[in-house]
C-alpha cells in the first residue's frame, strides 16, 4: 500500500482593508502567491476580499494573514466561526450607526442654531439678539457640526481633489467651510465694511433692530450647519437603502455534501469532503448527495442533476459515464472514481464564476457627483470673476471679497444629497408594489439602459414542470379516455419522475379516483410495469414497447407528430396491447409571450439561453416569439454569453431561476431572478420578480426610467434655486436703484429660503413618483 502524501486543500476568503487601487491588489496577490503551499490567490478589489486556496498542512491561515499585513494591508479579525457575510453585515451595521450618530449630533446643534438665526433675521426675539455674544453662540453651535459631522466630507474632498475630480463632497466641504470661516471672521470683527451696499442688512422688516443693534454684518453659521446636516441625512438614507451583500456564495458552498464514503485500503470510511482526493473510489447510496465529480466504475442509477445543469428530468447514468458533485442520487447505488475534487469540481467552478462576476462590477458613478464635477469649477470661476469685476469697478477689497464669498456660499445646494436617495426609496417602493424587488440601487438606475435581455428557459419562460398536453387513444382501445388516464395515473402513483407526476396530476385534476398499483416494477431507463384493477399496465418509452414486442404501428405517426412538437411521449400498454400515447411537455408560462412582445416594443434584443436540448428550446422559443436561441449551454458558458454581449457595448439583463444561472445572473448588468426559483439564483441576482411573471421585466425597466427622471428633476430643483441666487449673491442688482435691499446682495434669509424651498421641492417631487402608474 503506497503512502499518500498528505495534502489538505483549504479554501478561504479573507477581507482586506486598505487597498485603494489595482496595484495594491496585484501586490497582495504576488506576495501571497510566493508563499509555499499556496495553490491559488486572487484579490477582488471591489469586494475587498482575498480568496486563497492552499495546502493547510504546509501553510497556515495565520501565515497568510501575516504576509498580507507585511505588505501593508490589514486583515480584520474575524471571530472563529463567523462567516464572511456576517462580517460584512457587521461592517454595514457599523456604517449605518456612524451615519445615524452624525445625523443626531448634527440635528441637535443645527436645529436650535437655525431657529435662533432665522428668527433673528425676521426680528422676532428683540434687540438683544443682535448683541455680539449671540454670534459667538452661533459659532459654538456650528463648530461641532462643521468639524465632527462634517469631518467625513473634508476627508473625502481631500481624496477627490488628489484624484483631481471634484465630487459632491468637495462641493459640500467648500460651501460649508467658506460659510463657516467667513462667519468666524465676521464674528471676530475682522471683517469691517462700512460700504452701505454691502453691510446693512437689506431687510426692511428688521431695519429697526439693525439700526439699534451693533451687528452690521451677516453670519452664515446656520447655512453651513444645515447644509452639512441635510447631506448627512441623504447619506443615511442611501446607506440604509443599500442592498445587503449577496449570500449567493454562502448558499452555493452550502450545497456541497459534507462527507463522502470512500474506499481506502479495502476499508470503507466516511471522510470529510475536503479529504477526498483524485482517484478515490466513492460509494453513493440511494438518496445521497454525490460528493465530488467522477466517473462511475460499478452500478447504474438515475440522478437529479437539475441543480447544476438545469435539466428537469433525472438522467440515467451507468459504468463509464460522468457524475457531478452536489447532484442528488435517486434510487440506484453505485461506485465511482473521483476525477475532480475540491476547487476543480463543477460546483466549485460555478462558485468561482459567481465570485468573479460579482467582483468585476464597478460601482456606477453617481449622477450628483458627475454634476458636481462640472459645477465646482464653474462656481469657483464665477466667484473669481465676481471678485475681479467688483475690484475692477472700483469697489474696496473687503466688499469684493464678501461678494466672492457670497457666491461660494449660495452655490452649495443642501438638497443635492437628498435628490438621489429619496427618488430611489420611492422607486424601490414602487417596484415592491408591483412585485419587483430591487435589491440594490444600482440595478434601479441601470435597468432603463438595458439593450438585451437573456432568458433562461426552464422555470423562467416555461412553468418548469411538465404537464400532460395530449392524450391520443389507440383505435383498439375501447374503454375511453378517462379510463386510460385513470389507469395510467394509478400506475404512476408512487412515481418521483416528473413525467409520472404530470400524469398523476392530470388524472387528479380531472377528478378521477386513483387506484392502488400492485406489483409495481420500475424498468431502469425505460418505464414501469404495474397491475391496476386487475389489468397489467406498461408505461414507458418506445424502446420499452419495442423490447417487449408490443406493436406500436397504429400510433407511430401520432407519436412522431407529438415529438416534432418537442413533447415527450409516453406509451401506455394495457394487457400487452397499446392503448394510447400520453404527451407531456413543459408549457410556456402565462404572460411570457406578452412580456417578450413588450420587450421587443422597447427595442430590446431577446435571447433564450438554456442547458436543455435544442429541439425543445426552439419549439418553446417559437411559441413566445424569441428569435435567438442558444441551447445545450453549460453554466460557465451562460456567463460567457453575457460577457460577450457586454463586450459589444450592450447593457445586458439576465432572467433565470436555477443554480446554473447564477454566474450569468451575477455577470449581467441587471440580474433578475424568478421568485419561485432557487435561493442561490435569488441571491446572485439584483432584482427578484416575485411572481415569476416575465411581464415584470418591461415593468422594471419602466420603473427605472421613471426613477431616473425623478432623480434628474430632483437635481434640477436642488441646484435650481441656488443657481438662481448666484447673480444676486454676486451683487448684480446692487447698483440698480429700484431693487429692494433684500435682492441687492446675499443675506442669510435668502439662503435659508433657497435651502427650504429646494429641500421641499426635492422631497415632494420624489413622492410624486408614488402616484404614477407603471
Amino acid at each position: 500500500m503506497t503512502v499518500q502524501a498528505q495534502k489538505q486543500s483549504q479554501v478561504e476568503v479573507l477581507p482586506i482593508i486598505g487597498m485603494t487601487c489595482a496595484n495594491c491588489a496585484a501586490t497582495i496577490e504576488r506576495q501571497v502567491r510566493k508563499l509555499p503551499g499556496i495553490e491559488a490567490a486572487n484579490v477582488n478589489l471591489a469586494n475587498e476580499r482575498l480568496s486563497v486556496s492552499y495546502d493547510s498542512i504546509a501553510l497556515s491561515r495565520e501565515a497568510i494573514i501575516a504576509r498580507v499585513r507585511k505588505a501593508g494591508y490589514d486583515v480584520p479579525e474575524i471571530v472563529a466561526g463567523e462567516d464572511m457575510e456576517d462580517a460584512e453585515a457587521k461592517a454595514r451595521a457599523m456604517d449605518i450607526a456612524h451615519q445615524e450618530r452624525r445625523l443626531l449630533v448634527g440635528a441637535v446643534f443645527t436645529i436650535p442654531l437655525f431657529l435662533l438665526s432665522m428668527s433673528r433675521d425676521i426680528g422676532l426675539p428683540g434687540e438683544w439678539a443682535f448683541q455680539p455674544w449671540v454670534n459667538y453662540l452661533f459659532w459654538a453651535l456650528a463648530t461641532p457640526v462643521q468639524f465632527y459631522v462634517g469631518w467625513d466630507y473634508y476627508v473625502s474632498a481631500y481624496r477627490a481633489l488628489r484624484a483631481r475630480s471634484p465630487n459632491m463632497d468637495v462641493l459640500v466641504a467648500l460651501g460649508s467651510s467658506v460659510a463657516y470661516f467667513y462667519s468666524v471672521f465676521v464674528t471676530l470683527g475682522l471683517l469691517t465694511t462700512t460700504s452701505a451696499a454691502g453691510s446693512m442688512a437689506g431687510m426692511n422688516i428688521a431695519s429697526n433692530a439693525v439700526a439699534a443693534g451693533a451687528m452690521t454684518n451677516h453670519v452664515y453659521f446656520e447655512i453651513a450647519a444645515v447644509v452639512i446636516t441635510l447631506i448627512v441625512l441623504g447619506k443615511l438614507l442611501e446607506v440604509r437603502a443599500k442592498g445587503h451583500t449577496s449570500e449567493a456564495i454562502k448558499k452555493l458552498i452550502g450545497m456541497r455534501a459534507k462527507t463522502a464514503r470512500v474506499v481506502r485500503g479495502g476499508v470503507e470510511i466516511d471522510l470529510p469532503i475536503e479529504q477526498v482526493i483524485f482517484g478515490d473510489v466513492v460509494i453513493v447510496r440511494p438518496g445521497e448527495k454525490i460528493p465530488v465529480d467522477g466517473t462511475i466504475t460499478e452500478g447504474a442509477t438515475t440522478i437529479d442533476q437539475s441543480m447544476i445543469t438545469g435539466e428537469s428530468f433525472p438522467v440515467s447514468r451507468t459504468v463509464g459515464e460522468e457524475v457531478i458533485g452536489a447532484t442528488l442520487n435517486k434510487q440506484g447505488m453505485f461506485r465511482f472514481k473521483a476525477t475532480r475534487v475540491g476547487k476543480e469540481t463543477a460546483l466549485a467552478q460555478i462558485i468561482r464564476l459567481v465570485e468573479q462576476a460579482q467582483g468585476s462590477k464597478a460601482p456606477i458613478q453617481k449622477l450628483v457627483d458627475q454634476v458636481a464635477a462640472v459645477f465646482v469649477p464653474f462656481v469657483i470661476g464665477v466667484a473669481a470673476l465676481t471678485f475681479i469685476l467688483w475690484i475692477g469697478s472700483g469697489a474696496d477689497f473687503t466688499t469684493s471679497l464678501i461678494r466672492l464669498v457670497a457666491v461660494l456660499v449660495i452655490a452649495c445646494p443642501c438638497a443635492m444629497g437628498l435628490a438621489t436617495p429619496t427618488a430611489i426609496m420611492v422607486g424601490v417602493g414602487k417596484g415592491a408594489e408591483n412585485g419587483i424587488l430591487f435589491k440594490n440601487s444600482a440595478a434601479l438606475q441601470q435597468a432603463l439602459k438595458i439593450k438585451a435581455v437573456v432568458l433562461d428557459k426552464t422555470g423562467t419562460v416555461t412553468r418548469g414542470e411538465p404537464i400532460v398536453t395530449d392524450i391520443v387513444l389507440s383505435p383498439n382501445w375501447t374503454e375511453g379516455r378517462d379510463r386510460l388516464l385513470t389507469l395510467a395515473g394509478s400506475a404512476e402513483r408512487g412515481s418521483e419522475h416528473p413525467l409520472g407526476t404530470a400524469v398523476v396530476k392530470a388524472a387528479k385534476e380531472a377528478g378521477f379516483t386513483l387506484l392502488d398499483p400492485g406489483q409495481f416494477q420500475a424498468i431502469e431507463g425505460r418505464g414501469l410495469r404495474a397491475v391496476v384493477d386487475g389489468q397489467t399496465i406498461l408505461i414507458g418509452n418506445l424502446k420499452l414497447m419495442v423490447n417487449l414486442g408490443i406493436k406500436t404501428a397504429d400510433l407511430d405517426s401520432e407519436a412522431a407528430r407529438l415529438q416534432s412538437e418537442a413533447k415527450t411521449t409516453m406509451w401506455i400498454a394495457v394487457n400487452e396491447q397499446v392503448a394510447g400515447v400520453i404527451a407531456v411537455a413543459d408549457t410556456v408560462k402565462e404572460g411570457s409571450a406578452e412580456a417578450i412582445q413588450a420587450m421587443h416594443a422597447l427595442g430590446l434584443q431577446v435571447i433564450m439561453l438554456t442547458g436543455d436540448n435544442q429541439a425543445t428550446a426552439t419549439a418553446i422559443a417559437k411559441q413566445v416569439g424569441i428569435d435567438r436561441v442558444l441551447a445545450e449551454v453549460m453554466p460557465a458558458d451562460k456567463a460567457n454569453v453575457i460577457k460577450q454581449l457586454q463586450s459589444e457595448g450592450l447593457i445586458v439583463a439576465m432572467v433565470g431561476d436555477g443554480i446554473n444561472d447564477s454566474p450569468a445572473l451575477a455577470q449581467a448588468d441587471v440580474g433578475m431572478a424568478i421568485g419561485t426559483g432557487t435561493d442561490v439564483a435569488i441571491e446572485a441576482a439584483d432584482v427578484t420578480l416575485m411572481s415569476g411573471d416575465l411581464r415584470g421585466v418591461p415593468r422594471a425597466i419602466r420603473i427605472s426610467r421613471l426613477t431616473m427622471n425623478v432623480i434628474r428633476q430632483n437635481l434640477g430643483w436642488a441646484f435650481g434655486y441656488n443657481v438662481a441666487l448666484i447673480p444676486i449673491a454676486a451683487g448684480i442688482l446692487a447698483t440698480v436703484a429700484w431693487v429692494p435691499d433684500i435682492l441687492r446682495q446675499l443675506n442669510p434669509m435668502l439662503a435659508a429660503l433657497a435651502m427650504a424651498f429646494s429641500s421641499v421641492s426635492v422631497v415632494t417631487n420624489s413622492l410624486r413618483l408614488k402616484g404614477s402608474k407603471v
Binding site: 496595484n23 495594491c24 506576495q31
Partner: protein, 72 residues
C-alpha cells in the same frame, strides 16, 4: 547616513506607498523617509549594515523596483 530619492513607476496609490515603506523598513539599517503617490518619488536613508543594493532588491521583490534616481 546615506540618502537617496528615486522614482518608483509602479506606485499607483497610497497603499502602494505603504507597501514600499514597509519593505524598506524591513531592511535592517534602512529607513523610509517619505514617498509621494502623485510624483511616485520615494526618499530613503540608510546606514550599515544596509546598502543600496539590498534596498533595491527588497523593492524589486515586491515589484516596486526603483527606476531613475532623482537624487543619487
Amino acid at each position: 547616513m546615506e540618502e537617496k530619492t528615486f522614482n518608483v513607476p509602479n506606485i499607483g496609490c497610497d497603499g502602494c506607498v505603504r507597501s514600499v515603506k514597509n519593505a524598506v523598513n524591513e531592511v535592517p539599517g534602512a529607513e523610509f523617509v517619505t514617498g509621494d503617490e502623485t510624483t511616485k518619488n520615494v526618499t530613503v536613508k540608510w546606514q550599515a549594515p544596509a546598502n543600496w543594493t539590498q534596498i533595491a532588491e527588497a523593492l524589486k521583490e515586491i515589484d516596486y523596483a526603483p527606476a531613475e534616481l532623482v537624487n543619487p
